[in-house]
């Protein structure tokens, strides 16, 4: 059976199951009410896309920097990296957002909740990226570095030509997964009143009292972002694997 057919059948079965569950709930659908607020939902979707994209880039940079700190021979630098990673990975994003925005950002005088939101989200995701990058670098056999040195490559050349290409292939699946998580985690920025997609859906719900009709488009919207991401990741993995 071709894969696309198998995928379509499974999705159709799943949709049928959901439809069956809904039909038994005796729910009075009110799509018209939510449709009136489509502009609001679309705007929220746009904000989520912008926030996610920016955070993707910033968190990758933070993650690389932190991975360098973690691998540093300098004990102080390594400590900075380790404390950052453990603290961020060990506490809920919710707490980080609340303390980060209402306490730290206020103290520093940063008032723009969008900027602070992106920063906090990037710091959060960056900690996970750091561990992913560190694991990827550690998985490369030491002989690769020895060979690169033995050939006479400079440290930068070794990193660019030998280490980095291998590290990218190793971490690609995990990084793609982290990107998907980031897009969904951005929904939590609603707690600091960032007008992104989830907050928009919550507001539409409070105006129309039509909960399912507000939140089902929300789920569909996030899927529209995460599914292409997963597909691109799988494409890149196939293109860059070691077997021809």
């Amino acid at each position: 059976m071709p894969r696309w057919l198998a995928h379509t059948i499974v999705v159709a079965l799943f949709a049928a199951l959901i439809a069956l569950a809904f039909s038994r709930v005796n729910y009075a659908w009110n799509w018209a009410g939510v449709w009136e607020y489509r502009q609001k939902l679309l705007q929220g979707f746009g904000v989520t896309v912008a926030l996610s994209l920016t955070s993707l880039i910033v968190s990758t940079l933070i993650g690389m920097l932190a991975a360098l700190l973690l691998g540093s021979k300098n004990t102080l630098l390594e400590a900075v990296g380790r404390v950052y990673v453990e603290l961020i990975r060990g506490t809920p994003l919710l707490v980080q957002l609340l303390i980060g925005f209402y306490v730290v950002a206020s103290a520093v005088g940063l008032e723009n909740r969008y900027v602070v939101g992106v920063l906090l989200l990037s710091l959060f995701s960056g900690a996970y990226m750091a561990e992913i990058f560190r694991g990827g670098l550690a998985a490369i056999p030491q002989t690769q570095r020895d060979s690169a040195r033995a050939i006479g490559l400079t440290p930068w050349q070794s990193f660019r030509l030998v280490i980095l290409p291998q590290a990218v292939r190793l971490v690609l699946p995990a990084v793609a997964g982290q990107f998907v998580s980031l897009i969904k985690d951005s929904s939590l920025l609603s707690v600091i009143a960032v007008s992104e997609f989830t907050l928009a859906a919550q507001e539409v719900n409070s105006f129309t009292y039509s909960t399912l009709e507000s939140y089902l488009p929300l789920a569909a919207g996030y899927l529209m972002l995460t599914l292409p991401l997963s597909a691109v990741s799988r494409l890149l993995e196939r293109r860059y694997r070691y077997e021809a």
């Binding site: 020895d146 050939i151 006479g152 030509l161």
Partner: protein
């Protein structure tokens, strides 16, 4: 090559791996290092290849001492070739790209000049048909031979090979040893660490037995492998030789 080693000391953490090693070879073309695991052979080879700096002592090839600072060592490493036991080749590059890597990025050849240079060696060692393949598509023996070729195409003064066949099955071992034998025939200078004693007998001008971080015996192969007086050395060969 005339290798002069004096008072060589190397430590990893608290462990002393080389303990005042002395070796004066005279003018030879091939040196084979043998001995028990953990005795210091690979550590010595890494120092000779310019990969590690010893804690103390001096190494000189043909009267020229090895430097202790990294930039000079890098320049030295560009004049020699080194091969390891496994994972030599970059897995994301084809065999050809692996060969071109040092020529283009270290020795400044253009890609066409580099390709021209590697063509003959590839054919001579029967690897031309495999050049477009990635390491995952090559056998262990082919990978090691490409790795040795990569060390050779930069026209090094000498080669350093660390147990090139230890990770291979007997058939592939033979294939790689045949290549090294041919290199000996062509006059290439090399320092080889190996457990293949029969091969050592054939290709070594001198054999040095490294144990407990020192040279316990040094001389022509037959003298060391078959007729050595040092008890430690004799018992080693008695155990491993058929």
């Amino acid at each position: 090559m005339n290798l002069e080693i004096s008072g060589l000391v190397q430590r990893y953490g608290t462990a002393t791996v080389l303990d005042g090693l002395e070796l004066h070879t005279g003018d030879i073309r091939s040196l084979v290092l043998v001995g028990p695991s953990g005795g210091g052979k690979s550590t010595l080879l890494r120092i000779l290849a310019g990969l590690d700096v010893p804690v103390a002592g001096s190494v000189a090839f043909d009267g020229v001492a090895l430097s202790r600072n990294e930039p000079s060592l890098r320049a030295y490493r560009r004049t020699v070739g080194t091969g390891f036991q496994a994972y030599n080749l970059c897995p994301h590059l084809t065999a050809m790209e692996n060969l071109l890597l040092p020529l283009v990025h270290v020795h400044g050849l253009s890609e066409s000049e580099a390709r021209a240079r590697v063509r003959e060696p590839l054919e001579r060692f029967g690897l031309a048909t495999h050049a477009h393949k990635r390491p995952s598509e090559l056998s262990g023996g082919q990978k090691q031979r490409i790795a040795i070729l990569r060390a050779l195409v930069v026209q090094p003064k000498r080669l350093f090979l660390d147990e090139p066949t230890s990770a291979l099955d007997p058939e592939m071992t033979a294939e790689v040893l045949e290549m090294i034998g041919e290199l000996k025939h062509l006059g290439t200078q090399f320092v080889l660490v190996t457990h293949e004693m029969g091969f050592a007998r054939r290709v070594a001008d001198r054999v040095a037995f490294i144990g407990d971080g020192r040279v316990l015996a040094h001389g022509p192969p037959a003298e060391i492998i078959d007729r050595c007086n040092v008890p430690r050395v004799r018992s080693f060969f008695a155990r491993i030789l058929p």
